[in-house]
Each structure stands twice: as structure tokens, then as C-alpha cells.
Symmetry: C2
């Protein structure tokens, strides 16, 4: 197998070796600890290790004509890092396993540049990886982080208030347009093509007293369902409160996937600090609902309870 | 994206959800910490984190008619774990990212069974993963481990003795036969289809005073070259000393890849303990050469120096 850590020594497959050299050239000092069978990392004392792996596959998570290679690299990295944000973890390192078809070979440096830019934004070194030939482009990113008090899904309690970061609906609207062959509105496309993992935001929220979180990759309603199920509560979402981008209804914003915003639970007596959040991070923190006795997710509009939309289903 | 940790809660893609449930059923208690955006793991105090990612792709690393699905799962897992062995690390957890074509859907449980069996053998829990649709089968395994005194590639010194675990040549001979459309000799096939990561062996060797190691995934000569390059030495390999399986010449054993044995450097004054090694692990530990001033790898036969063979190049 072709390990990136072995990259600049020598490799069996000449193409794979060249590919690795190209990426290392793009990353420069961002690629650290390269040169052994595995990376060595220090975990801050008292912290738990947080680990997640996430794949972005051509034709499943994106289409080639929708995104630039740089956007594909950055977006795959953001999606993986978002799982660290959901746990309020600090990034320690990224490992990239790349499945590289010949038809993508010329785009390799731009893909790597996108990965590197997002990693840099998250202050996360690239500590290892793997390149193989493949018939379709895939980027499988494993993210490692450290957390002293990780936020989990199972800690929502009855009475908790639910908050969401940012403004929802952009990725869903962009995806709808792209699937229709239309051009998405630029703000919608930006939210789809260049998501931002809410890493610093999550750590801030954890220090404010949040005790449960999830990232909104499957859509607010679906991910609220994950929180509700893991915590044994019912989550009520108030449609009138959902922060939604211009041109998207609250209903559609609730179903929009690949948001990479956070849904966070706070005890009812804790002030989440929306004003300070907005001032610090430039995005809103909005109360969107609460946890009550029961199970599942309930959407509440002006007329009463309505059924939540189905979860986001990639390109199906 | 579809995270395995979210698996038994709910997912957008119904097929991916079903796939994850199947794997979790096969793994049972082996799959731990599942249910959040990322896994939480404890690192023993004083240990460094060791991390590596490794992909096995249909048509690149194996062909479907060569191996059973269970062998494919176990072999991909062994290859990834071998990178922990090379560092003398203890496994902490495995994350599996699976690219699953429809044509492999029926083999999913056997693939998972293979992964689970190898993980169990290494006493390594499965802590997370990802399933996506794909046009070819791929298993990308990220392995996490802990090491108090990791073995690295760059610590070989002039005068060191080089040792190899096990008996080489089986995978190369099996691969040659398979590529010719012939049936490999059963002992050769077994070494190709069911490699064993030398995890306990590596830790034992580290306690005996070894100070550098690499796993032989590219072939002994090529991986000796990686050691030599990282350490700034020349490695002389004595052809007459190479432990080779029946029916394979020492020359071919030196070039045989995907061995997943270890090449280990010991200071000249340290007794590596081959007899105790054989008694403890049931495989030989053989002195195959030494490190001298210079660079690269030199093969020495009865007539003098010969050129080493080229590195192993997957299915090219």
C-alpha cells in the first residue's frame, strides 16, 4: 500500500509517488511528521482523543461540473473537520486518503490546495495519507482532535433550549438549482461550495455551558432527530424561529443538508449568549426550539404541529 | 456525509443506513463508542498517538476473483494495522471508510466479518467509519495506536544489524501465479491472502533494544531503501541469509511485496534474541544484513554486489 508518510522516500508505484510529491510541494510546512509508517502526535494531557473519518465521492457527494477542484478539496476537508466541531474538539491532525482517477491527475495540485487551505484555516496539520489509483475521485479524510469536555449527542435533557449557528437553507437551495441544471444564486452556491466547520464556535459554546451538539450535515430536522434519539427526548422546532437565507423558506431550510452548522442544546437556565456570539464570530446563534418529553422531532408552525421533512439524501 | 457513528440513529441515505446496520450487527461489541459525530478515545498517559491511513482498492490492490470477501476485509485491516506494528504501537482503534458498489452489496457482511476478525486478533475496537456508494470496492482503514517509545525509520546507525521477521516470498509468488492465471501454491496463497500484522512482535523487539523498523509492504529491498534513505546510511543485504518460503528464490523473496513482515535495526552490541523470538511467536527472526556508510541498498551474493530488484508495484 502506498502511504503518504513514505512519500518522499521512495515508492513502488511511480505515479503514486509523483502524486504524493505534488501534494507535499503544495502543502509545504503544513504537512508534518511525514516520513514514517504512521504519524506520531502528542495529545494534550487530560484531553480525550476525538477521531472521525468521512468520505467525499464524485457522483455521490458532488459532481465535477458543480465545483472547482479547489472547492472539492476544501469542502471535503470542511465536512470532515465539522465532525470535530460537533464534539467541541480542537484539531490535532488530518489524514487524507485519495482515490485518484487518471482523468483527475491534472487537478491534483488544486485538490491538494483546497485541502491545505481548509486545514490551515482550522490550524490543523496534515499528518499522513494515502494515494491510490481509482475509477472515480474520492477524498477520505480522517480528522483527529483533542477535547477536554467533548459535546456528545446523548446529553440533551427535557427542558433544554436548542440553538442553531448561522443561517440555513443555502446548500439545499444550491443543490436544488444544480440538480435542475440551473445556476444557483451566488450566496446559496457559496454556502454549498465553501462550508465552514464551526470549530472555534463549538469550543466557545462548550465554555458557555452547552452540553450537547451535532453538526447539521443531514439537515436540521434529521439531525435534530439524531439528537432526540440519542438523548431519549422529543425535540420541538419552531418554524418561525428558523434562521434562513434569503430566497429559501423556513420549511426548506429545515430540510437543507450539508449545512455544517451546529445544533446545540443548552440547559434552560443558561444564557447561550447570542449577542456575544454574533459579535465574536459574525454569524447568528438562534434559539430554534426545545426538548420535551417524548421522542422524535416535531415542527411547530403558526397552525400547530406539522410533519418534519425527510432527511437530506446526497445526490439520490 | 454518512458517518458510521451516526449509524444506528438515523441517516439520510436508506441504503447506507442499512449497510451500517449490517456491519454493526456483524461486529457486535467490537464496535465501540458508536453514536456521535466522532469517536472518543483515551490515550494512555505518557504515550504518543500513532495514526495511519491505508486504502485497499479493487483492481489496484486485489482482484475480486482472487480473494473471498472475508479475506479482502481481513487483508485490508491487516495492511493498515501493519503500519502500527512498524512503529511498535499498541492499537487503540480502527475507523473504516467503505466505498460500496451495488455489485458488492451482498458481500457486505463477509467483508465486515473479515475486518472484525482481524481487528479482534489485534485486540483493536472498531470506533467509527463511513459508508458511501462507489463504482468500485474500496476499504480505507485508519488505525490509531499508542506508543511510549515508537520505532521510526530514521534511527538506523552505521554498524547496526538488520533483522527480518518471518519468511519472505509467499505473497510475491502468489501474485505472480494469479497474474498468470495459475493457481498459487497454498502456502504462498495463504501468505498473500491472510497476512498477519506483527504487532506483538514489534513491541517485543522494541523492548529488546531495536531502535528502527519498517514493515515490508513494498518488498524487502525497496523498504530497506526507505530505511536507508531516512537514516542516511547504506543497507547491505546478504542474499544467502534471506529467509524465503519453499519454491521461491532468495532473489525473488527480496522483491516480494505486501509481506507485512518487519525489517528491524539493532545496535551491533545488542543480541536480538532470535531463539526467544521463535519460541514466543512461532516465526523466525533472521539477521539479513547491516548498515554501513553510504546510501541506498546493496545486495550481496556469493560473487559480490548485485543490483537490488525494483520495488513492488501493486497490480501494475
Amino acid at each position: 500500500m502506498t502511504d503518504l508518510p513514505a512519500g518522499h522516500v521512495s515508492l513502488g508505484g511511480g505515479d503514486e509517488f509523483d502524486a504524493i510529491r505534488s501534494m507535499l510541494r503544495v502543502w509545504g510546512a503544513q504537512a508534518t511528521g511525514i516520513g514514517d509508517d504512521a504519524a506520531l502526535l502528542a495529545l494534550p494531557s487530560g484531553a480525550q482523543l476525538v477521531a472521525s473519518t468521512d468520505a467525499s465521492v464524485e457522483g455521490v457527494h458532488f459532481r465535477r461540473d458543480w465545483l472547482s477542484p479547489r472547492e472539492i478539496g476544501a469542502r471535503a476537508t470542511a465536512a470532515a473537520l465539522s465532525d470535530l466541531a460537533a464534539m467541541a474538539a480542537s484539531p490535532l491532525g488530518i489524514l487524507l486518503a485519495l482515490g485518484l482517477p487518471e482523468s483527475w491527475r491534472a487537478e491534483l495540485e488544486e485538490l491538494a490546495r483546497g485541502v491545505g487551505e481548509m486545514a490551515e484555516r482550522a490550524h490543523c496539520p496534515i499528518v499522513g495519507g494515502n494515494v491510490t489509483r481509482a475509477s472515480e475521485l474520492s477524498l477520505t479524510l480522517t480528522v483527529l482532535g483533542a477535547a477536554a469536555g467533548a459535546l456528545v449527542r446523548s446529553a440533551v435533557r427535557t427542558g433544554d433550549a436548542l440553538y442553531v449557528t448561522g443561517t440555513l437553507g443555502g446548500p439545499g437551495a444550491a443543490l436544488d438549482a444544480l440538480l435542475r441544471g440551473a445556476t444557483p444564486a451566488p450566496p446559496h452556491r457559496a454556502r454549498f461550495a465553501a462550508p465552514v466547520p464551526r470549530i472555534r464556535e463549538a469550543r466557545w459554546l462548550a465554555t458557555q455551558g452547552a452540553h450537547a451538539a451535532i453538526d447539521i450535515s443531514d439537515g436540521l430536522a434529521a439531525d435534530a432527530g439524531h439528537l432526540a434519539s440519542a438523548s431519549g427526548v422529543c425535540i420541538e422546532l419552531e418554524l418561525a424561529s428558523i434562521p434562513h437565507v434569503e430566497g429559501v423558506s423556513a420549511e426548506n431550510a429545515v430540510g437543507s443538508g450539508e449545512e455544517y452548522e451546529l445544533l446545540v442544546a443548552f440547559p434552560p437556565n443558561v444564557h447561550a449568549g447570542g449577542d456575544a456570539f454574533l459579535e465574536t464570530f459574525g454569524i447568528p446563534l438562534t434559539r430554534v426550539g426545545r426538548a420535551v418529553t417524548g421522542s422524535g422531532v416535531v415542527l411547530i408552525d403558526h397552525a400547530g404541529r406539522v410533519d418534519p421533512p425527510r432527511g437530506h439524501d446526497h445526490l439520490k
